[in-house]
C-alpha cells in the first residue's frame, strides 16, 4: 500500500503543480506586498519581503526533494513495469520542479522587491 502511494501516476503532475502554486504565491505575494506595504527602495534586496520569498522557495524546494526521493526509492523497489515507469519519471519531474523553483526564485537574493 505504501509502495503504491509513491508509484501512483498522480506524481507525474504533483511536482509541477506545486511549482505552479509556488510561482503564483511568489508573484501574487510580491504584488500584494508591493501594493499594500512596499519596503523602501534604498533597502535593496535586504528586506523582510525578500527573506520571506526566499524562505518559501527553500521550503518548497526541500519538500519537492523529499517527494522526489520517495518516488525514486519506490521506483527501485517496484516490479510492475508501468508503476516503475511512473515513479521514475515522476522523480525526474520532481527534480525538474526543484530546478525550476530555485532558478526562478534566485533573483530574490539580488533585486529589491518593489522597484
Amino acid at each position: 500500500m505504501r509502495q503504491a502511494l509513491w508509484t501512483h501516476p498522480i506524481h507525474l503532475v504533483v511536482g509541477l503543480t506545486l511549482w505552479s502554486a509556488w510561482f503564483v504565491t511568489m508573484y501574487g505575494g510580491l504584488s500584494v506586498a508591493c501594493a499594500v506595504a512596499p519596503p523602501a527602495p534604498e533597502q535593496g534586496p535586504l528586506t523582510l519581503l525578500n527573506a520571506g520569498l526566499a524562505l518559501l522557495t527553500l521550503v518548497t524546494a526541500a519538500f519537492l526533494a523529499w517527494l522526489g526521493w520517495k518516488c525514486f526509492h519506490a521506483s527501485r523497489q517496484e516490479n510492475v513495469r508501468a508503476a516503475h515507469f511512473c515513479a521514475l519519471v515522476s522523480s525526474g519531474l520532481y527534480v525538474a520542479s526543484i530546478v525550476a523553483v530555485l532558478f526562478v526564485g534566485m533573483p530574490v537574493l539580488g533585486l529589491p522587491p518593489c522597484v
Binding site: 501516476p9 509541477l16 511549482w19 508501468a82 519519471v89 525538474a96 526562478v104 533573483p107 530574490v108 522597484v115
Partner: protein
C-alpha cells in the same frame, strides 16, 4: 480476450461479425449525415473546415503583404487594414491551428490506442458544430466590413465601447467564446479517452508518444482556455451592459484583460506546438526505422513543457510596468521552458543518428520543422530577456519570432503528418514530385518572408502599422518579405493540389505503407467507422513492428469485443496506469441533439450580437432543453444501450459500475470550470489590490446571514447525496428517488436564498467594478446550483424509469462530483467576497 462464441466456420463468423458491426456503426447518408457522431467523420470535418479557414487566413496574409510591399501604399484603407490584420491572427489561431490539430487528434487517437471511438462521441459532434457556427459568425463580420480591429488579443481599452463602438469586438468576443466551447469539448474527451479507453494491455508506458503529447495538449486546453472565456464574458458585459471591469474610472483595470488573455495566450503557443512535436515524435522513429531514443525523457519533457508554459504569460507584458523582481520570475521561467524543448530536439537528433533515415516527403517537413522551430526557439530565449524585450517590443521582430515558432512548430509538422497519414485517409499515396516542390517552395518562401522580417523589426518597424514612409530604410526588406510570401503561397497551393489530386490519381497504398509501428495502420484504408473488427491486446510500444500480422488477426475478429449482435457501440474501459480491463463502455449513437443544441447556441450568439436579449433568453432555454434531452438518452436508456446486459466473459458494462467514464468526464470538465472560477477569483483580488480607483464599501452589501443559511442548505444537500451514493455502493437503493427529491428541495432553498441575497444587495453593477464582480460571482454560483438542482431532479426521475438504481449506480456518482464542486466553490466565494472584505475592512 477472444470471443468464445466463434465455433464453426471462421470465415462465416467473421462475415457475420463485420455485417453486425457495419449495422451498429453505420453512418447515415443525406440529411442524416448531420447526425453522425463517429470520431473518424467528425475528425475529418474538423480538419477540412480548419483547412478552409486556413485558406481565408492565408488570403488575409497575402493582403497584408501586398499592402506592405511598398511604402506609402493605399491598397487598403487603415481601418480595413486593421480588420484584416486582426482577422488574420484570429482566424489562424482560433479557427485553424487549434481546431485542425484537435481534428487530427480526434481522428487519430482512438485508432492509435486501439479503440473504436472517443468516449463521448456526441460531445465531439457538438464541439464541431459549435466550431463551425462560431467560425462562420466571426467570419461573416469580415464580409460585412464590421470585423474586429483591435488586434487578435483585443487589448482594452482599445477594444472597449469608447474606442471600438461598432460590433467588431462583439463579433470577436461572442464568436471566439462559442468556438472555445468546441476546444474545451475536445479537450475534455481527449483526456478521458486517452486515460480510460486504451486497448487491453496498453499500459501508460506503452502508450504511443503522440497520445502523451495530445494528453498534455488536451489538459492544457482544459486549464488554459477558461481564463480567456472569463475575460471575453467580462469584456462583453462591459460593452453590452456597462459593467466597468476594465475601466479605471469605475474601479476596473485594463491590465486585467492582458493578464486573462495571456494566461490563455501563452500556453496556447504550446497547445499548438505540442501536437506538432507529437507528430515529429511519431514520424522520426518510423522513418529512422528504430524506436525513439529516450521514451521516458520525452514524456518528462512533454509534462514539463505543459506546466512551465503556464508560468510565462507576463513576458508578453514586460512593458506595462511592474517591479523588476516580478519580471525576473517570468524571464527565468521563459528561459527555463527552452530546456524540455531542447531535450526533445536532442532525442529526435539521437534517434535519427542511430537509425537509418529514409528521406521521403514527410521527413522533409520534419527537417524543415527542426530548422525553423529551433531558430524560433532561439529568438524566444532572446525575447525572454527583459531589456531586449523592451527594445523590440511591438516591432516586426516579434512578428517574425511568432511565425517561426508557430509555423515552424505547428504548420511544418502538421503538413508532414498529413503527408504521412494521407494513405490512411484515402488508401492512396501522395505524389513525391508535387510534395517535394510544395515543401521547397514553402520552406524558401517562409524563410524569405520571416527571416528578413527580423531585420525589419530590428530596424524599428512597428507591427500593426498599415504603411510606412519611403525614407525609413525598411523598403527592401518589406519587398523581399512580400515577394517571398507569394512564393510560400505557391508552395501551399501545390501541397493542396497534391492532397486533392491524390484521391484520384495517387497509387493505391499497401497495408502499413511506411512500415509504421502504431495501431492506426492496423485499420483498413480508409478506415471503417468502427476502426477494428476486434480490439487487440497490446504487449509493447511497437505492436506492428513486433506483430506484423496483427492487422489480419484483428480483422478476423480474434481479439476482444468481437460481437455486435446486441446493437451496442462498444469499446474497452481500461485502468489508466496498467491498461487492464475494467469495463465495457457502451457509446451513444448518431443523434440530432448535438446539432440542435449548437444551433440554439448560435441563435444565442447572434441575438446577443444584435442585442435581442429576449430572443437570447429563449434560445438559452431551448439549448438547455436540447442538452438535457441529450443527457436523458444516456446510460442504460435504450437509445444508448439497446441491450443493457453484461456479456458472459466480459467485464461489466460501464453503466453498471461506479467509476465509468462519465465520472472522469465530469471531473475533467470541473477542472475547466475550476480554472474559470480561479480566474474570477484572481480578477477579484487583482482589482482589489491593484486597481487605482477600486472602491469597496466598509461593509459587504451581501447579507452574510443569508449566505450562511443558503450555504447550510447546500451543505445538507451535498451530505444527503453522499449518503445516497454510499448506500448505492452497498447495494441499498431503497428511498433513492425520495432522497433525490429532498436534495433537489434543498438546492431550491439555496437558490431562493441566493436570489434574496441578490435582490437585497441592490448592487450598482454599472457604477463600480466591485459590485459588477459580486454580481458575476453570484450569478456563477446560482447557475451551478441551478444545474445541480436540475440534474438531481432528473436523477430522481431516472430512478423512477429504472435507468438509475442499484444495478445502474453510475449517474449519482457523476452528479455528486458537481455537488462537491458547488459546495467548495460556494464557500470560497462567501469567504472571499463577503467575509474577507469585512475582516480586512473595505477599501485598500
Amino acid at each position: 480476450m477472444t470471443d468464445s462464441s466463434r465455433k464453426t466456420n471462421p470465415d462465416e463468423d467473421t462475415q457475420r461479425l463485420v455485417k453486425d458491426l457495419e449495422t451498429v456503426w453505420a453512418n447515415p447518408r443525406g440529411l442524416g449525415a448531420l447526425t453522425i457522431v463517429n470520431h473518424t467523420t467528425v475528425g475529418l470535418r474538423f480538419m477540412l473546415t480548419g483547412m478552409a479557414f486556413f485558406l481565408v487566413g492565408g488570403v488575409l496574409a497575402m493582403l497584408i503583404r501586398s499592402q506592405l510591399a511598398f511604402p506609402g501604399q493605399n491598397f487598403m484603407a487603415p481601418e480595413i487594414y486593421n480588420q484584416v490584420v486582426t482577422m488574420h491572427g484570429t482566424v489562424m489561431m482560433f479557427l485553424f491551428a487549434i481546431p485542425i490539430l484537435e481534428g487530427l487528434a480526434i481522428y487519430m487517437i482512438p485508432k492509435m490506442i486501439g479503440a473504436r471511438d472517443l468516449v463521448c462521441p456526441r460531445l465531439s459532434a457538438f464541439g464541431y458544430w459549435c466550431y463551425l457556427f462560431g467560425g462562420l459568425i466571426l467570419l461573416s463580420s469580415l464580409f460585412m466590413e464590421m470585423a474586429p480591429e483591435s488586434g487578435w488579443f483585443m487589448y482594452t481599452p482599445l477594444s472597449g465601447k469608447v474606442y471600438s463602438p461598432g460590433l467588431g469586438s462583439d463579433f470577436w468576443l461572442l464568436g471566439i467564446t462559442f468556438v472555445e466551447i468546441s476546444a474545451l469539448s475536445a479537450g475534455v474527451e481527449l483526456v478521458v479517452s486517452i486515460l480510460r479507453t486504451r486497448t487491453q494491455g496498453m499500459a501508460l508506458h506503452k502508450m504511443p508518444l503522440f497520445a502523451w503529447y495530445i494528453l498534455a495538449m488536451a489538459m492544457m486546453i482544459v486549464v488554459g482556455f477558461p481564463p480567456l472565456i472569463l475575460g471575453s464574458v467580462l469584456l462583453e458585459l462591459e460593452r453590452a451592459v456597462g459593467m466597468p471591469f476594465f475601466d479605471v474610472a469605475g474601479g476596473g483595470d485594463p491590465i486585467l484583460w492582458q493578464h486573462l488573455f495571456w494566461l490563455f495566450g501563452h500556453p496556447e503557443v504550446y497547445i499548438i506546438f505540442l501536437p506538432g512535436a507529437g507528430i515529429v515524435s511519431t514520424l522520426i522513429p518510423v522513418f529512422a526505422g528504430r524506436p525513439i531514443v529516450g521514451y521516458g525523457w520525452a514524456v518528462f519533457a512533454v509534462i514539463t513543457t505543459g506546466f512551465i508554459s503556464f508560468g510565462l504569460w507576463v513576458h508578453h507584458m514586460f512593458t506595462v510596468g511592474m517591479p523588476q523582481l516580478a519580471q525576473t520570475f517570468f524571464s527565468a521561467a521563459s528561459m527555463l521552458v527552452a530546456v524540455p524543448t531542447g531535450i526533445q530536439i536532442f532525442l529526435w537528433l539521437a534517434t535519427l543518428w542511430l537509425g537509418k533515415p529514409r528521406m521521403q516527403v514527410p521527413m522533409l517537413w520534419v527537417f524543415g520543422f527542426l530548422f525553423v522551430f529551433v531558430l524560433g526557439g532561439l529568438t524566444g530565449v532572446m525575447l525572454a530577456l527583459v531589456p531586449f524585450n523592451w527594445q523590440v517590443h511591438d516591432t516586426h521582430f516579434v512578428v517574425a519570432h511568432m511565425h517561426y515558432v508557430l509555423v515552424g512548430g505547428m504548420f511544418f509538422p502538421l503538413i508532414g503528418g498529413l503527408y504521412y497519414w494521407l494513405p490512411l485517409f484515402s488508401g492512396r499515396m501522395p505524389s513525391q514530385t508535387l510534395g517535394k516542390w510544395g515543401f521547397w517552395l514553402t520552406f524558401l518562401g517562409f524563410n524569405g518572408t520571416f527571416l528578413v522580417m527580423h531585420w525589419t523589426g530590428l530596424l524599428g518597424m512597428p507591427r500593426r502599422v498599415y504603411t510606412y514612409g519611403a525614407d525609413e530604410g525598411w523598403e527592401l526588406f518589406n519587398l523581399i518579405s512580400s515577394v517571398s510570401s507569394f512564393l510560400m503561397a505557391m508552395g501551399i497551393a501545390m501541397i493542396l493540389a497534391d492532397f486533392i489530386l491524390h484521391f484520384r490519381f495517387g497509387k493505391p497504398a499497401r497495408q502499413n505503407p511506411w512500415n509504421a509501428d502504431t495501431l492506426e495502420w492496423a485499420t483498413s484504408m480508409p478506415p471503417s467507422p468502427y476502426n477494428f473488427v476486434s480490439l487487440p491486446k497490446v504487449e509493447s510500444r511497437h505492436p506492428l513492428w513486433e506483430q506484423p500480422q496483427l492487422p489480419q488477426a484483428i480483422a478476423e475478429g480474434r481479439y476482444g469485443l468481437a460481437a455486435a449482435f446486441h446493437g451496442r457501440r462498444e469499446i474497452w474501459g481500461t485502468d489508466p496506469l496498467t491498461g487492464k480491463l475494467r469495463e465495457v463502455i457502451h457509446l451513444p449513437t448518431n443523434s440530432w441533439w448535438p446539432l440542435f443544441a449548437a444551433l440554439a447556441l448560435a441563435v444565442v450568439c447572434i441575438s446577443l450580437l444584435l442585442r435581442w436579449y429576449p430572443l437570447a433568453g429563449i434560445a438559452v432555454l431551448v439549448a438547455a432543453g436540447f442538452l438535457l434531452r441529450w443527457s436523458w438518452e444516456n446510460g442504460t436508456h435504450s437509445r444508448a444501450a439497446p441491450d443493457a446486459r453484461d456479456q458472459p466473459g466480459n467485464p461489466p458494462l460501464h453503466s453498471r459500475t461506479m467509476d465509468g467514464p462519465g465520472v472522469w468526464t465530469m471531473a475533467v470538465t470541473l477542472l475547466a470550470d475550476g480554472a474559470f472560477f480561479l480566474s474570477l477569483l484572481f480578477g477579484w483580488f487583482y482589482l482589489w489590490t491593484i486597481s487605482p480607483e477600486w472602491s469597496m464599501p466598509a461593509e459587504s452589501p451581501l447579507s452574510l446571514t443569508l449566505l450562511v443559511v443558503a450555504g447550510l442548505a447546500l451543505s445538507a444537500g451535498w451530505w444527503w447525496l453522499e449518503r445516497c451514493v454510499r448506500r448505492l455502493r452497498h447495494r441499498q437503493g431503497d428511498g433513492l428517488a425520495k432522497g433525490m427529491a429532498m436534495i433537489t428541495g434543498l438546492g431550491i432553498v439555496q437558490l431562493a436564498l441566493l436570489g434574496w441575497v441578490l435582490v437585497e444587495a441592490e448592487l450598482d453593477v454599472t457604477a463600480t467594478a466591485h459590485d459588477a464582480v459580486l454580481m458575476v460571482s453570484l450569478v456563477y454560483v446560482m447557475l451551478h446550483s441551478g444545474l445541480g438542482v436540475i440534474l438531481t431532479l432528473l436523477q430522481g426521475l431516472r430512478v423512477g424509469y429504472g435507468y438509475v438504481g442499484v444495478e445502474a449506480p453510475l449517474e449519482p456518482v457523476v452528479v455528486r462530483l458537481l455537488w462537491r464542486y458547488n459546495l467548495g466553490g460556494y464557500w470560497v466565494i462567501v469567504v472571499s467576497m463577503a467575509v474577507l472584505p469585512s475582516v480586512i475592512g473595505g477599501s485598500v
